[in-house]
Symmetry: C2
Subunit: 298 residues, 2 copies
């Protein structure tokens, strides 16, 4: 890979801190400049050896950096990019780590204008139950996928630098459009969260909720685990990806309608067919077990 | 506990085999008579040391037994009880292990008539991913809950023997009505399965299904795990507990409607409130972490 000389870490939490730690391992001469809306987090990053210098503005932090990693909540993308623009070198590569991509692209266009070609949207599929700079670790991205959704304005050389950076921290890179990204993550992440939140609310609102919850077993545990997610994250994701989440909800409701119709009419053979169809798909599936399809419909 | 002298194991699979293994540990002098519709399974139980004798009819197997464990698919409850009735001792306690209880009670009334007071419906909350007599193990029921739904016809002495038997194999016993049982398991087990089956079918039916599944992560893995269940089990459970499952589906749909309305109208504050409500319930919940409520609404 082309070595990164100076990383500007904008936002000092789990995702950014882990990226900086991992990139230090790959590029031993790396200098890391940190900025965080919370000065304490940036200072903590320095104490932990994640950052070399702390700056009080994003523009100051990005000055002279060849790589800028924006690791802030997606709703902070536009103002943060605006703040940093004055300090940005013309050859700097800027990437984010957000869970949605169409809204991030729109924010980047609004904030960077003609400089938007320097911005390459990224979504590394990694995380931990608890966030914060204290949790940052160099192997967070090892053997994970990172999705890049390049813009038409991105020079291929810039995309190659982005791929090299994510590979350096341990990811395998997948390229697709922002639309494909948002559709897929609505399907496999955002909708399941929505359903899990609604399911738990449906159980908890009943008179017998205490009995139900006392007797719930391992099936409930796994099915509802993601309902422990917080609104600090999920309000913004649902809002940013609303159209795709609603479209996926429509897909789910069609499948649920078929299931209910079979059940209500006492058509056990139809119930069995629907169960078997789902079971065959799920029993075959394993985490990171399938290659990306070559012929990928948009 | 009052010792069990002779156990008749009717149905030789994971649940029954594990019960026999565990009861042998608790009652070293126990004799186990086995019957299975599949003679090979009963013979295998004998080879594995789970059963002492194998019989070719249920009536012969239950002769002289003070405890009969019916561990067959719930749809086989009525014919199997009918078959065994001629051999049943007047002081024998008969229990099942089925996942639904109202249909089992109806089957027992139909099959046993005036002898139904000997039948005590049971549902031990235990299992493994793979079934069969080969998988049977003595500790399957350790630290699990077993739900008993006694009939008005059950003498209290019989209920006490049932409690003692389940405690002997490691369970803590919870008593409730068959209606409460079926409502609760519709809420915490059957509905989540139905939703997971529908969800996977909804994802798999899309043009971009291969991309979605290739990129699905740990959230998808846990949320959809129960969709790998087979129709051999779930067709019967959904059929047996149809009314309660449909009622729980109604509860879910009310909660989902609230979620969708907030999302569609762009009311981020309402979305956040609904997410926080679910998250607070789920973050507090742990497996077997809540006591059964004292004041339990029917």
């Amino acid at each position: 890979m082309s070595t990164v000389n100076r990383l500007a870490l904008i936002g000092c939490g789990l995702m950014g801190g882990s990226f900086a730690r991992a990139l230090r391992v790959a590029c031993p001469a790396l200098q890391v400049a940190a900025y965080s809306r919370s000065l304490a987090s940036a200072q903590r990053a320095q104490v932990l050896g994640i950052a070399d210098e702390v700056f009080s503005t994003a523009a100051a932090a990005v000055r002279g950096a060849d790589l800028v990693l924006l690791a802030v909540p997606v709703t902070a993308t536009e103002p943060t990019l605006r703040d940093m623009r004055a300090g940005l070198s013309a050859d700097a590569l800027v990437m984010d780590v957000g869970s949605t991509k169409r809204d991030v692209v729109a924010a980047a266009r609004a904030a960077l204008g003609t400089a938007v070609g320097q911005f390459l949207p990224a979504h590394p599929i990694a995380g931990k139950e608890s966030g914060g700079i204290e949790q940052a670790e160099a192997d967070l991205y090892q053997e994970r996928r990172c999705i890049l959704t390049p813009l038409p304005e991105n020079p291929e050389g810039l995309v190659a630098r982005a791929v090299a950076a994510w590979e350096a921290v341990g990811c395998s890179v997948v390229r697709m459009s922002a639309e494909q990204h948002d559709e897929t993550f609505a399907a496999v992440s955002h909708l399941p969260h929505l359903l899990a939140f609604a399911y738990v609310n449906g159980v908890a609102s009943q008179n017998a909720a205490a009995r139900h919850l006392a007797l719930a077993g391992p099936g409930f545990r796994d099915f509802s685990r993601i309902a422990a997610g917080t609104s600090a994250i999920w309000r913004d994701i649902f809002s940013a990806n609303r159209d795709e989440v609603l479209a996926q909800l429509g897909q789910f409701e069609s499948a649920l309608t078929a299931m209910r119709a079979a059940l209500q009419s006492g058509d056990d053979a139809a119930v069995a067919r629907l169960v078997d169809a789902a079971s065959a798909v799920r029993a075959r599936w394993t985490l990171n077990g399938a290659p990306m399809p070559e012929d990928d419909p948009a």
